[in-house]
């Protein structure tokens, strides 16, 4: 990676880091932290789905695993929450590898792969909802004990910065992927698997690598979620809502791009929040906005918001030359 690859990411993250200095309203910070967590989870999905073309409908499997691991390891086993968070991320990677091995090795792709991932997530949701170790339908409550060493903070700003740092780290990771051999091979698999094989790409290994990293990143988002809200249950952690969120954000922002998931998550939730404010508490109004944005993205901006911006920049440039 060159300086020019890294600089925009560092500058953007540094700028966003100043937000808590100006905004101190808890409701707004809550919204921003939540949006960053969604962005992080979506970044995970984008590595596999956007770059690798393997559309998972079950990324809740990773989000939930990260969330439950973070919560259960500290509540049931007394492990330090920071360590629990890290372990949760690793377990998410492992779950990714296992799901990938089972589905990619048997040659599943396209809608079959999507359905199988959805099934995995649903099975995990039902198990988590039933088992006593996971607290069953009542879920797990993390005891309030505000200490930085305990991954709990007085100010919401601290949490904002941690979420932002993770998003920034994954932006850099994604940029590295984009500029690496692994990334070139991953995109080749997305574009044409037979051609990739003919050129010496071990497509199974590449896809396994992608789903492992993808699982880790989305699990980290889940762990962060558990730590922020101090509560996890099966319908939150393994719910279909998060599987859908992580697909929508990259599609709206720009599939297979570094900034797409972040831009999409901010656009979706920003607009959702604004309409909620404007229209009052009409139930489901934010979901309608999501639906509208998705339809608009698919119909008018198949390359997402970023693709739209690039296109208009190019046509403006062309107009100047003419």
């Amino acid at each position: 990676m060159t300086f020019r690859d890294i600089a925009p990411i560092v500058v953007l993250i540094a700028l966003i880091a100043f937000v808590p200095a100006f905004i101190t309203a808890n409701t707004v910070l809550n919204f921003l932290v939540f949006t960053l967590i969604i962005a992080l989870a979506a970044q995970g999905w984008n590595i596999l789905g956007g770059f690798g073309g393997q559309f998972s409908f079950g990324h809740a499997a990773f989000f939930g695993t990260g969330a439950y691991a973070a919560a259960l390891l500290q509540v049931r086993l007394g492990i330090n929450p920071w360590v629990a968070f890290a372990i949760g991320t690793v377990v998410g990677a492992a779950v990714g590898w296992v799901i990938g091995y089972l589905s990619f090795r048997s040659g599943l792709r396209g809608s079959y792969f999507a359905l199988v991932t959805l099934a995995f997530a649903e099975v995990l949701r039902i198990l988590a909802n039933a088992a006593t170790f996971t607290g069953g339908a009542a879920g797990v409550l993390i005891k309030l004990d505000v200490r930085p060493g305990n991954f709990q903070f007085e100010s919401r700003g601290a949490f904002f910065w941690i979420a932002l740092a993770l998003v920034g780290a994954v932006l850099l990771l994604t940029r590295w992927i984009e500029r690496s051999r692994f990334g070139a091979q991953l995109v080749a698999v997305r574009e044409n698997e037979a051609a990739a094989k003919a050129l010496g790409v071990d497509t199974l290994r590449v896809k396994l690598g992608a789903i492992t990293v993808s699982g880790a990143v989305t699990a980290a988002a889940g762990g962060l979620y558990a730590q922020y809200f101090l509560y996890v249950d099966a319908n939150i952690a393994y719910g279909t809502w998060i599987s859908v969120e992580v697909i929508l954000a990259p599609i709206v922002g720009g599939l297979g791009t570094v900034f797409g998931p972040l831009v999409g998550a901010v656009a979706l939730h920003g607009l959702g929040e604004i309409t909620k404010l404007a229209a009052g508490s009409v139930p489901g109004i934010d979901l309608m906005v999501f639906g509208g944005l998705l339809v608009a993205a698919v119909a008018f901006a198949p390359a997402g918001i970023l693709g739209l911006m690039r296109r208009s920049a190019r046509s403006r440039g062309a107009a100047r030359h003419a």
């Binding site: 051999r181 080749a188 574009e191 044409n192 094989k197 003919a198 050129l199 071990d202």
Partner: protein, 247 residues
């Protein structure tokens, strides 16, 4: 360099390749010809590993590679092009070629530099930054060739890279193929354009209904009555000979 021994490939009841054997000498350009549906492409899939033979073996540099996956064979030095071109449509021409170059170059900058050299060589220089999906038929064929070449193969399998090109495009690309061989790459090519087979190949195998029915230098093979009948139907060789006598 390459040896196919009694390879058979069945698709259900259909025998696409039937007890076919052939040898490709290192440094040669060998041709594989035959009527439509003869099994030529299927034989290529057996050599490149996309299908496994029902019977028989494929040897490369003396080793049995019949069970190796396609990417392993690519690493060993076998590259193929696709008769039905398979570009990475969403990528630029240069990025397409770079995927091939990455096989031997881990670093992105090295792969891109190597891809650019290969692209120039096959005449895609002006097209490198364009989207692969914007290429003409001739451009796409060149792209297939460039990508395969970028893997720095020892053996290059070309499946009708001249099909769909006009005579002047064919005239342009023949020297490119010859130059690739002169740099030490062995070539096995499927080709319908006989002018190219005649001018490029030292040795030709003829496949008809899955069987190798003739082999030898191109001029001899074209006079072989078995070959003429395979293309033109039973009795054709007789008829042609009679017409020649009358003329």
């Amino acid at each position: 360099m390459l040896e196919v021994q009694n390879a058979t490939k069945r698709f259900g009841g259909l025998v696409a390749v039937n007890q076919a054997s052939l040898k490709v000498e290192a440094g040669s350009i060998t041709g594989l010809i035959g009527p439509n549906g003869a099994g030529k492409t299927t034989l290529f899939t057996l050599i490149s590993g996309f299908e496994k033979p029902s019977e028989g073996r494929v040897l490369f540099e003396g080793e049995d590679i019949s069970r190796d996956e396609p990417h392993v064979r690519a690493r060993r030095g076998i590259a193929r092009t696709f008769q039905i071109v398979q570009p990475f449509a969403g990528l630029s021409v240069l990025e397409n070629i770079a995927v091939g170059a990455h096989l031997r170059h881990a670093k992105r900058s090295d792969a891109l530099a190597s891809a650019e050299r290969v692209g120039q060589r096959v005449g895609l220089g002006p097209e490198l930054d364009k989207s692969a999906s914007s290429l003409t038929v001739a451009g796409r064929k060149r792209l297939e060739l460039a990508r395969a070449l970028a893997t720095e193969p020892k053996l290059l399998l070309l499946d009708e890279v001249l099909a769909g090109l006009n005579p002047s495009e064919i005239r342009d690309i023949i020297p490119v193929i010859r130059a690739i061989r002169d740099e030490g790459v062995t070539i096995l090519m499927i080709e319908h354009v006989m002018q190219a087979v005649m001018s490029l190949c030292e040795q030709v195998y003829v496949l008809a209904q899955g069987r190798i029915i003739a082999e030898g230098p191109p001029a001899d093979v074209c006079d072989d009555p078995k070959v003429i009948e395979a293309y033109l139907g039973a009795g054709a060789a007789e008829r042609l000979k009679r017409e020649k006598v009358h003329a």
